[in-house]
Symmetry: C2
Subunit: 505 residues, 2 copies
C-alpha cells in the first residue's frame, strides 16, 4: 500500500467528514426548529435549512470527490471487502451515485418544503384542519415522485425511497415480511380482545406531575446508560432523537400529567436511539464506519429499551419502588403486578406512538399501504383522510373522531419521510430476534434487570451492533449476530410469552 | 438609472443577504452553545462554528462581490449619499475592505479560539481557576494583536478593534469622553457614599421563586413591546441577546431566587436589545439598511429600558402592585417608595452587570484601561488578575475575594471581544441624551409609564433609531436626533436628578 494511496484516502476522508460537519449543522437547525423556534421564525428557517441542504449536496456531488472514490476503488485499499477502507469506499460510492442522480434544485426544494411542510402540519394538527396541510402535502408527494423517478429503482418507485432509510431493502420483501407478521398478529390481538381479563389502566391516568415525570424519565435514561455529558433531554410536540455531533445527541419527549406511558416510554424509546448514537465509534464520526446502518436497526435499539427492557416485569421489579417514591399520590395503593399489567394493556387505539406492543405494527401496516397508494397507485391527497379512516376501521375497528387523531397524527409525510414507516416494524422484528440472542449470550437478563443492572446488556449492544458502524448491512448484521435471516417469529414468540399469562390465553 | 445597474445591484444585494443568512446560522450555533450545548459537545461545536466563520469570510472576500461593489460605486446608484443604495454600497465597501485585510486562517483561528475560549472561561469561572483560562486568553490576545496589525489603524492598535463594535469611533475620543465622565462621576459617587441615607436593600434578597420571576419578567418584556411570536426568553450563565433571523430574536437571563434585580433588570436590559432587533426593517434584513448601527447604539436601547424606564419611579407606580401580587411573601409589607429606593441602591461593588447606574461606568473604565494595557502596553495575561484587583481597589475601593468575582466575571475577552467594553459606556451616554429628547417630544412620559403605557415611547424609538438601520453613523444619529454631539452631561444630569432627592444630597 503506497503512501500516495494513503494520502488520497486521507483527502477522501477529510472531504466526507467535512460534509458530515455541514450536515450536523443542519441537524442543529432541525432540532432547534422542533424544540425552540418562535412561531414567526419558520420562513427564514426554511431558507437557512435549504442553504445547508444545498451545501451538503454540492459536497456530495463535487467531481473531485467522485474522482477520488473511483481512483481509490482501483487500489489495494478496496481489495479486502472487510477492511475499513473498503467499507468506506463502497458506502461512499453507493451514496454518491444516488446523490448524482438528484438535481440540486430538487434537493433544495425538498429541504425547503420539508421545513414549511412541518410547520403547516403542526398548525393543521393543532386546528384539526387537514385542508390547511393538503397543498403542502400534495407538493411533497409530487416531489417524492420526482425523487423516485430521478433515482430510478429495481422494481417499483417505492424501492427508491425505501432505500434512503433501509439501504438495499426492497418493497416486495418488506411487504412479504409484514404480511407474515399481520397473519400471526391478527389472531393474537383477537384472542386478547376476547379475554375477560383487563388491566386497571386508570392507574396510568392519575396525576403524574410533569417535574416528577421529567426527573423519573431522566433517572431511567441514566440508569440504562444514556450519557448526559454527551446529550440532552428536551420537550417537543413530536418526539425525536437528533445527533448534532459526535458528543452531542439530543433526545426529546412530551408530557401529559395524566398519562404516565407517554413521556416515560417515549423517553425510554428515544434513549434507545440515543444509546445507539452514543455507541457509534466517535473516531469515525462523519465516515460510514461511524454511522448507523439503517433506520430499521436504529429502531431496533429504541424498541429494545422501550419494550423488551422497559415493559418487562423484571425492569419494574427494580423501578416500581422508585416510581412509588416519585409518584406517591398516584401509586401508593398500586401493586407492582397491577402496574406491570397496566403498562402492558393491549387495546386497539387511534394513536400509533401510544399503541401497545401487540397492535403497534398494525398501525405501521396502514401507513405502509397508504403511502404505497399515494406514491404508486394514484391515491389523491384530498382522499387521504377518508382512506385513513377506512383502514383504521377495517384493521383496528376504531374510527378517528377527528383528523388530528387520525391522518394528522404523524409528522413524517410533512417532512418528506415517505418510505420511513416500514422501518418501524422492521425495527421491532430486529429487536426481538437480537433479544433472543442476547438472552442466550448473557444468561439471566431478568435477574440483572431486577437488580437495576443494564451495563452488560448495553455492552453487548455496543459490541455486536453499535461499534460495527456500517461495516455490515442490516441483513448481514442480523445473520451475523443471530445466525438466521430476519423473521417475524421471534417477535410473535415474545408477544405470546408475555401476553398468554397476562390475559390467560 | 439603467436596468443593467438595477440588475447588478440586485445581484449585490442577493450576495449580501446570503452572506447574512450564513452568519445567522452561526448565530444559531452560538445561541445554542450558550444555552443548550452538552458539556462534551464543545470541541466539535468549535469546528462547526469555524466552518461557518470561514464561509462567511469567503463570501465577503469573494472577488466577484468586490467587483460588483466597485462597479456600482461608479453608477448613479451611489450618487446621492442619502439614498438607500448609496448607504448599502458605502457600508458594504467599508466592511469588505476590512475583511480583505484579514487572512482566512486568522478568521478561522479567531472563531475556533472564541468557542474554545468561552468554554475554558466557563470552567475556570466555575472552579475559580484563572490559570486554567490563562493559555487560551494569551492565545486570544495574541490573535487580537495580529488582527489589529492586519487591519491597520489611524493612530493606535486599539482603534482597529474598537471599529468592529463602534464603526468610525476612535480610541482617543472614547478616552476623552470617558475621562470627562469619570471626573463628574467620582464626586457624585463619593457624595452618595457620604450620605447617611441608605435603602433597605434586604427587600431584594428575600425569596423570589424562579417561576414567578420568569412570569413577571416575561410580562414586563411583553408590556414594553417585546414580541414573543418573533422571539424567546431563555436561561443562560452570562445573559445576551442573539438575532437568529428577521423574526427570531432571543433574549436570555439568569435567576437567583434571592436576588430580584439580577433577572428582572437583566430581562429589561436584554429586552431593550431585542426591541432594537425587532424594530429593524425586516425587508432589509441582511443589508446594512436592516442592521444596527453600532454596539454603542445597541447598548443605548438596552440601558434605556433597563434604567431610564425600568428604574424610574413612574415605572414602579404601574408595576409595583403587580410585583406585590406576584411575590406576596417578599413584598407584602413593602412600600412602593422603599422598593423604588432599593432598586436604586448605589454601592460600589464587584460585579459589573449587577452594578447600579452611578458606579456602572467605573467598571467599564477599569476594563477599558486593562484591555488597552493588554493590547498595547505589554501587560501580561499572567499579571491580569493582580492588575484587575489593584484597579478595583483604586477606583471602587473594593477587592475581589476570588478571581471568579473579579477578572473571571465577564465572558468578553474569552470570546475575542476586545474593544467592546467602552461601547457599554457610550450606550449609557447615548441613552441619556436620547431620553432628554424623547421627553421633549412626547410630553409627560412619567404619566404614561404610571399608566403602563410604553407604546408611544417605543414608537419614538422605532421612528428615530430602529428604522434607520445603518443610514447614519452613531455620531450622525445623535446629532440628528438631539441636535448636539455626544456629551456626558445628560447622563450626569439624569443621575443627579435621580439621586439628589433619594440620598438627600
Amino acid at each position: 500500500m503506497s503512501d500516495e494511496h494513503q494520502k488520497l484516502y486521507g483527502q477522501l476522508c477529510d472531504h466526507a467528514r467535512r460534509t458530515a460537519l455541514v450536515a450536523s449543522i443542519a441537524e442543529i437547525l432541525g432540532w432547534d426548529e422542533r424544540t425552540q423556534l418562535p412561531p414567526a421564525g419558520g420562513d427564514y428557517r426554511a431558507e437557512q435549512s435549504t442553504y445547508l441542504a444545498g451545501e451538503v449536496h454540492r459536497r456530495w456531488t463535487d467531481p473531485r470527490f467522485g474522482e477520488l472514490i473511483e481512483k481509490l476503488l482501483q487500489t489495494p485499499l478496496a481489495a479486502d471487502p472487510g477492511s475499513g477502507s473498503a467499507v468506506v469506499l463502497r458506502r461512499l460510492k453507493r451514496q454518491r451515485d444516488k446523490r448524482m442522480k438528484l438535481p440540486q434544485t430538487l434537493v433544495e426544494e425538498l429541504a425547503r418544503t420539508a421545513v414549511l411542510g412541518q410547520q403547516a402540519w403542526e398548525e393543521a394538527r393543532k386546528r384539526n384542519d387537514f385542508p390547511r396541510f393538503q397543498p403542502l402535502l400534495e407538493k411533497m408527494i409530487e416531489l417524492k415522485r420526482q425523487q423516485a423517478a430521478a433515482l430510478g429503482y429495481p422494481e417499483r418507485p417505492y424501492d427508491a425511497l425505501l432505500d434512503d432509510f433501509e439501504p438495499e431493502e426492497r418493497t416486495a420483501n418488506v411487504a412479504r415480511v409484514l404480511s407474515g407478521l399481520r397473519e400471526a398478529l391478527v389472531p393474537l390481538v383477537a384472542a386478547i380482545q376476547a379475554s375477560p381479563r383487563r388491566p386497571n389502566s386508570e392507574i396510568l391516568k392519575r396525576a403524574y406531575p410533569q417535574a416528577a415525570q421529567a426527573a423519573f424519565g431522566r433517572a431511567a435514561a441514566e440508569a440504562i446508560g444514556f450519557d448526559f455529558r454527551r446529550g440532552r433531554l428536551d420537550v417537543t410536540a413530536h418526539p425525536f432523537t437528533a445527533g448534532l455531533g459526535p458528543h452531542d445527541c439530543r433526545i426529546t419527549t412530551r408530557y401529559d400529567e395524566h398519562a404516565f406511558n407517554q413521556a416515560f416510554f417515549g423517553t425510554m424509546h428515544e434513549s434507545g436511539h440515543g444509546l445507539y448514537e452514543q455507541g457509534l465509534p466517535t473516531e469515525d464520526y462523519g465516515l460510514p464506519l461511524g454511522e448507523s446502518i439503517s433506520l430499521g436497526i436504529h429502531e431496533s435499539q429504541s424498541r429494545w429499551w422501550e419494550n423488551f427492557v422497559g415493559r418487562s416485569r423484571a425492569f419494574w421489579q427494580h423501578f416500581f419502588p422508585l416510581a412509588q417514591r416519585q409518584f406517591p399520590e398516584a401509586l401508593q395503593d398500586v401493586s407492582a403486578d397491577d402496574f406491570y399489567f397496566a403498562v402492558n394493556d393491549v387495546r386497539p387505539s387511534l394513536i400509533r406512538i401510544e399503541a401497545d406492543e401487540a397492535t403497534y405494527n398494525l398501525h405501521i401496516l396502514i401507513r405502509f399501504e397508504l403511502e404505497l397508494a399515494l406514491l404508486e397507485d394514484g391515491l389523491k391527497v384530498a382522499d387521504l383522510p377518508g382512506a385513513w379512516n377506512e383502514k383504521y376501521r377495517q384493521t383496528l375497528d376504531v374510527t378517528p373522531p377527528r383528523d388530528a387523531d387520525g391522518v394528522l397524527q404523524d409528522v413524517h409525510w410533512s417532512a418528506g419521510l415517505v418510505g420511513y414507516f416500514p422501518t418501524y416494524s422492521l425495527g421491532n422484528l430486529y429487536a426481538a430476534q437480537f433479544f433472543v440472542q442476547a438472552r442466550t449470550d448473557l444468561g439471566d437478563l431478568d435477574a440483572q434487570f431486577a437488580r437495576g443492572e443494564f451495563r452488560p446488556l448495553l455492552e453487548w449492544l455496543r459490541e455486536k451492533i453499535h461499534r460495527c458502524g456500517q461495516r455490515r448491512t442490516a441483513s448481514e448484521l442480523i445473520q451475523d449476530v443471530t445466525g438466521k435471516p430476519l423473521s417475524h417469529e421471534p417477535l410473535m414468540e415474545h408477544l405470546r410469552t408475555k401476553f398468554t399469562p397476562l390475559y390467560g390465553l
